[in-house]
Symmetry: C2
Subunit: 233 residues, 2 copies
């Protein structure tokens, strides 16, 4: 039996609490991060609050082992005087949407080996992809996630804009988008690269630029150059 306290009532806290609640060997409780009185003493205390509040909230907790759930905050940011760790799930959580924890990568860190073992045990009750990732690695992962998630979504948005402007249904592009993301499961992205940039197809590139707005052109040019530079390394 592992006893767990979830601190917070946001997206991550809610999903985590509900998930642990259904696990036999876990005894989970949850409290608001706004009212830190009568804190249950548990094996693991998971602070799932906004990044900026992690330091303050953790400073008020005396439980033996305290972890946060942030991808961008270092373990040392925790201000509890007891043992520290990180329980970061690399996935987007929104309250409305069900989470399939089996697909969520758990990125774990702890000051002490035994604590890392506890976090692994905990993560394994929910998921299959468990990684030991230190604070520096986690920061890198977070930046990489901005590229493959936030920026990729913005490229979808630009594609959507171009379709709107030229009166084409965006859904024509759905299968291509799916194929592009499926490919990296079996092929390193550098090997999956196609298109006018890597073919150095100057004529098509020039044609494309005439169809774009100023900011779209800038993005088109810099990404084209970056693709071409990646060939010469």
């Amino acid at each position: 039996m592992i006893t767990v306290l979830v601190v917070g009532t946001g997206n991550v806290a809610t999903h985590l609490y509900n998930a642990f609640f259904n696990i036999d060997n876990i005894n989970v409780s949850q409290i608001s991060s706004r009212n830190l009185k009568n804190i249950p003493n548990t094996d693991v205390t998971i602070i799932a609050v906004s990044d900026d509040a992690i330091a303050e909230v953790s400073s008020k907790i005396n439980n033996p082992f305290v972890v946060h759930t942030s991808g961008s905050i270092s373990m040392k940011n925790l201000q509890n005087s007891t043992r520290k760790g990180v329980f970061y799930m690399l996935q987007t959580f929104t309250k409305e949407k069900k989470v399939d924890f089996k697909k969520v990568p758990f990125c774990l860190e702890a000051e002490h080996k035994d604590d890392l073992k506890i976090l692994k045990k905990l993560a394994k009750t929910l998921g299959n992809s468990i990684y030991t990732i230190d604070s520096n690695q986690r920061k890198a992962l977070h930046v990489a996630a901005v590229f493959v998630n936030n920026f990729t979504n913005h490229l979808y948005k630009i594609g959507h804009d171009i379709c709107l402007t030229h009166n084409v249904p965006f859904k024509v592009l759905h299968p291509l988008i799916q194929e592009t993301s499926n490919k990296i499961m079996s092929l390193p992205p550098i090997k999956a690269q196609t298109g006018p940039a890597i073919r150095n197809d100057t004529k098509t590139i020039k044609n494309h630029l005439t169809l774009l707005e100023e900011q779209q052109q800038k993005i088109y040019k810099i990404l084209t150059k970056s693709i071409q530079d990646s060939l010469n390394r």
Copy 2:
């Protein structure tokens, strides 16, 4: 019964020929684009050759209705003196990889209504997503595809590079990549946007930039700006 001739022996020609070969109501034949002698006379002649060769190859064909398969070449580029059209499939074809035509969007164009009907009939024997797309729309679609496919793959590549540099397995990011691409099936990309740029989280953005190489920084900055500008429109 529709009689079809596929001209070319490349990726698209091979997949198309094989697919039509299995359809009862289609009588398909194939010839090389290098040797245009004894050309079978068919209802539809599909020229599936490199973009640059479409004009030349089509100029040598006297069949009644000739179409090409290119996303970036206009219908008028065809040099046959008979009827013209386009049979563009928005998907990546490589010889090794099986194509699920049921998922392929067919983008059709023809000078004459009756020819468009024939192309639709033809496309429907293979697929479910059939669109009438004129040459200007197709050009826009092709540019949009560069953003959502080629450029997106390059962002995956940058994510992969960042992981390599910081010794993190790229596969930690696989589920996030899948989720990002699945989201646009149900949500317009502008509504799916998350991350530090749209939150205007200057602290995180600054932190991220310190972890990146020069060209990665440039891309990070321009995409961040573009995301933020999209809020103000």
